[in-house]
Symmetry: C2
Subunit: 294 residues, 2 copies
C-alpha cells in the first residue's frame, strides 16, 4: 500500500490527492484552483455516501438527461443550480452589501434587456387582468438621501402566473415590464396587478428530482427589479408578498426577510379616489437602498 | 440575521442547512441521503473558491456542453467522472478485496457482451498486426488452489491503439477479443499482440478541460479482463505494461501496483520453438486470484 502511494498510484485513501497532483502544469491557475476544490469535495462526498455502481450510473444518466434538456429556451443546469441553492449562494458571495443597503437575490431567466421606458406612474399591466396594485417608494443611498436619475427596470408575472415571454402571442408584448427613472426626490411609482406564485419548469429531470425529494416547484409571488444609478452598485433583487403560501419554501431559495413588502389592500373610498382609482387596490410601499461603488 | 435563520430563510452562512431541510418529506430516503452529502459538499466547495458570476456561468456552460456531447456512442459525463478519479473511487469502494485477491479496476466503455468463446491457446489477433504476445497464467482462489471452469473474458486494442468497436469495417469483428474457460488446473493461455497506449476521446469539453489543466489524455497499454467463476466474486480488472510511458499518469487513474505484468521479450530459439512460434515474442505471465463469495 505504501509502495502504491510512493509511486503516485490511485488508492481509495489518497484518491483526491493523486487527481489534484496531475494539475501541476495547468496553464490556467484559477481553473486549477477551482478544480482542486471541486475534486476534493467531490471525492469527500463519494467517500461519505459510498454509492453503488448502479447509483453512480443513475447520477451519470441524471446529468446526461439534464444536459439533453438544455436548449436555446431552457437551461436545466441553471434550474439544478437554483434548486440546490447554489445560484443563491453565488449571488450572496458576489453581493455582500454594506449595512443598510438593500439585499440582492437571483436574476432569474425572465429578464429582457429591451423593456420600454415608461413615464413615472404608468400602468405596466397591459392585459387588464388581476388585482390592481400600486407600487411606490424611494431609491435612497445608505445615508437616506434620495438618488436622482436612478433607472428602475421592473418585471413580474401576469395574473395567470406567467411572464410575457412564456406566452408570446397570448400576452401583449412587454406585459408587466417597464423601465422608470427617478427625479430629484428619488421617488418611483407605477401601477400593475398583484403578481402570482408559479412553478419553475418541472417537466424535466430537475422537476423529477424535486418530486422524489418531496419538494414542490413553486416560487412565491414577487416583483423583479434591476436598479442602476451612477456611482452606485447595481442592485438585482425581488420584493415578495409575505402572505404567499410558498413564502417559506421558495423552490430556488430567493426569499430574504429584508425583501418582504407589505401588500396593503386599500378599501378606504377617500384613498381610492385620491389615487384616481375606481375600486379597492393593493398598495405596495418599498424603498430600495443602493450601496455606493467603492 | 438571526431573525432570518429562525424563519428558515437562506443566508450565506446557513445555505446548505436550509437546502437540506427541504428534503424532510422525501419519498426516497437514500436519494435524500445522497443529496444531503452532495449539497453540503457542493456548498462547501463554492464557499471555498468563491466563484464570480462569470465563473459560475462558465461551469453551467461546461456541464451543458458535456451533456450535449453525450449520445448513443459517446458518454462525456462518464469521461468526466473518469478523469476526475470518481469512476476509480466508486470502483474501489465497491470492490474492497480480501487480502491476497487480485485488485479490480474500471470496466471502461469498450467491453462487448457477446465475444466468441475460443479454445484455450487460440490467437485473438485477427488482423495480423503488431508484436506477437503469449499471455498465460492461472486462476486461483485465495488459498492458492486452481479454479476450474473459470470464464475469462479478455479484450485489448490492436497495434494501432484502437478497439475493434472503434474501427468497425476496418478491423475484423471481435479482433482482440475472446472468452476462455479453464480446466481442472486453472491454467489459461492465449496468443495476441502487444496492446498500445491510446488517448481517451479528447475532442469534447472534457478533452479541453484536460488541456487547460496541463494533462494528457493517454491511458498506458493494458489488457482488460472480466473473470467469473461459481462461488467467487466477479473480477473486472486490467493488467498493465510497467514500461509504458504513461504508466505513472493514466488519464483515468486505473493503474495499481498489483496490476503490473511483466512483458518479457523471448528471444531464446529453444523457447521460441517450444511454443511453435517463428520469431521472438513477448511472454506475459499473470495469475489472477478470485475472492470467494461470502
Amino acid at each position: 500500500m505504501s509502495n502504491q502511494t510512493e509511486q503516485g498510484y490511485f488508492t481509495e485513501e489518497n484518491s483526491a490527492e493523486v487527481v489534484v497532483s496531475r494539475n501541476a502544469n495547468a496553464s490556467d491557475a484559477r481553473l486549477a484552483e477551482l478544480m482542486e476544490a471541486i475534486t476534493r469535495h467531490l471525492h469527500a462526498a463519494v467517500k461519505e455516501v459510498e454509492p453503488t455502481q448502479e447509483e453512480w450510473f443513475k447520477a451519470i444518466m441524471f446529468l446526461t438527461e439534464t444536459g439533453h434538456k438544455c436548449d436555446d429556451w431552457r437551461q436545466e443546469f441553471i434550474l439544478l443550480s437554483d434548486v440546490l441553492g447554489v445560484s443563491m449562494l453565488v449571488d450572496a458571495i458576489n453581493n455582500r452589501k454594506p449595512s443598510g443597503a438593500s439585499e440582492s437575490t437571483v436574476l432569474g431567466p425572465f429578464h429582457v434587456p429591451d423593456a420600454p421606458e415608461r413615464p413615472m406612474g404608468a400602468d405596466i399591466c397591459l392585459d387588464g387582468k388581476g388585482d390592481r396594485m400600486l407600487v411606490k417608494g424611494r431609491i435612497l443611498d445608505t445615508d437616506g438621501n434620495p438618488i436622482a436619475g436612478a433607472r428602475i427596470d421592473v418585471w413580474q408575472t401576469n395574473d395567470d402566473g406567467f411572464y410575457d415571454v412564456q406566452q408570446k402571442g397570448i400576452q401583449p408584448d412587454f406585459n408587466f415590464r417597464g423601465v422608470f427613472r427617478t427625479g430629484a426626490d428619488g421617488v418611483y411609482w407605477f401601477w400593475g396587478a398583484k403578481p402570482k406564485s408559479y412553478p419553475i419548469p418541472d417537466d424535466g429531470p430537475v422537476g423529477k428530482m424535486l418530486a422524489a425529494l418531496g419538494r414542490h416547484p413553486y416560487r412565491p409571488a414577487h416583483l423583479h427589479y434591476i436598479i442602476e444609478a451612477e456611482g452606485f452598485e447595481t442592485l438585482v433583487t425581488h420584493i415578495f408578498d409575505p402572505r404567499d403560501e410558498y413564502i417559506h419554501s421558495d423552490a430556488v431559495f430567493g426569499v430574504k426577510q429584508s425583501l418582504m413588502a407589505e401588500f396593503e389592500l386599500v378599501e378606504d373610498k377617500a384613498r381610492i379616489e385620491a389615487k384616481g382609482a375606481q375600486a379597492p387596490f393593493f398598495e405596495v410601499k418599498h424603498d430600495f437602498v443602493l450601496a455606493g461603488t467603492s
